[in-house]
């Protein structure tokens, strides 16, 4: 973690070693995240995992992914919520029959 300084004009100065380490170039965009923990600055490019996933897809898979993505994006937020809440587990005693003993045999 690095400390950043806000100058008199409100600009944030990023230490040169961080700029070098992250390979930042003039004109690169960074994302400023306002969160409960404070302000975060990070480079909003594609993360390694997402990039690796995308690079593994061949042309046909990318076309299929695009089709699927278009369908997913056409869903309303409520429909997406419902999709990710399918098969929600109950906390009730009656549902406990699927619990396993630890240590497992």
């Amino acid at each position: 973690m690095e400390k950043l300084t806000v100058d008199a004009e409100g600009k944030i100065i990023i230490p040169p070693e961080v700029i070098q380490k992250r390979g930042l170039q003039p004109g690169d965009e960074l994302t400023l995240v306002e969160s409960a923990e404070g302000l975060l600055v990070y480079d909003g490019g594609i993360d390694a995992k997402t990039l690796a996933w995308w690079n593994r897809l061949d042309d046909t898979q990318r076309l299929l992914a695009e089709d699927d993505a278009r369908h997913y994006e056409s869903l309303s937020e409520q429909e997406r919520d419902a999709l990710w809440k399918q098969e929600a587990d109950s906390v009730e005693i009656e549902a406990e029959s699927d619990e396993l003993d630890f240590p497992t045999n």
Partner: protein, 163 residues
């Protein structure tokens, strides 16, 4: 968190920029995957991913292990609802202590990573009471369960702040 990682990939497939939450989740996921021994998801999330298109879901399923529910998971979840957690959140938190990795025969996780800032804040705010209630419950369980612990609950923003 997995939902937002999934959605970040959906955005990429469409050539659209991610939302802040999606970018935050994807960056955190990449970082945690690079440092953690194992990544776990709940059985519910695994089942949902299995219903999604393989192009998006299969890599996430391959990189994670689904936790099974150990005995007493729901009992602990019910206790957690007494602290004003929703049933859904209580189940996720209970997985943190009573989620069972049947492959390694281990129970619980070190940390739960979530995009839900309110959940993390609420857990932190009530942590002392939760810890007492947890101890009271665990002391009455069979000896094998003496190893169970409370997990940390970290937001994706908190993860990025330590990168």
């Amino acid at each position: 968190m997995i939902r937002r990682v999934y959605e970040r990939r959906v955005r990429l497939a469409l050539g659209k920029p991610p939302t802040l939450l999606q970018a935050e989740a994807a960056n955190s996921y990449a970082y945690v995957a690079s440092i953690a021994n194992r990544l776990y998801i709940t059985e519910q999330t695994a089942n949902i991913l299995k219903l999604r298109t393989p192009n998006f879901a299969a890599p996430l399923l391959a990189e994670t292990r689904p936790l099974k529910k150990a005995r007493y998971l729901r009992r602990w979840a019910r206790r957690l609802t007494d602290f004003a957690f929703s049933s859904e959140d209580a189940i996720v938190l209970a997985y943190g202590s009573f989620g069972l990795d049947v492959t390694s025969k281990s129970i619980g996780v070190d940390a739960i990573v979530t995009t839900d800032v309110r959940l993390a804040e609420h857990y932190e705010r009530r942590h002392a009471e939760i810890r007492n209630r947890f101890s009271d419950m665990v002391v009455n369980l069979p000896e094998a369960y003496a190893v169970v612990r409370l997990p940390q609950v970290l937001t994706t923003a908190a993860i990025l702040s330590i990168v």
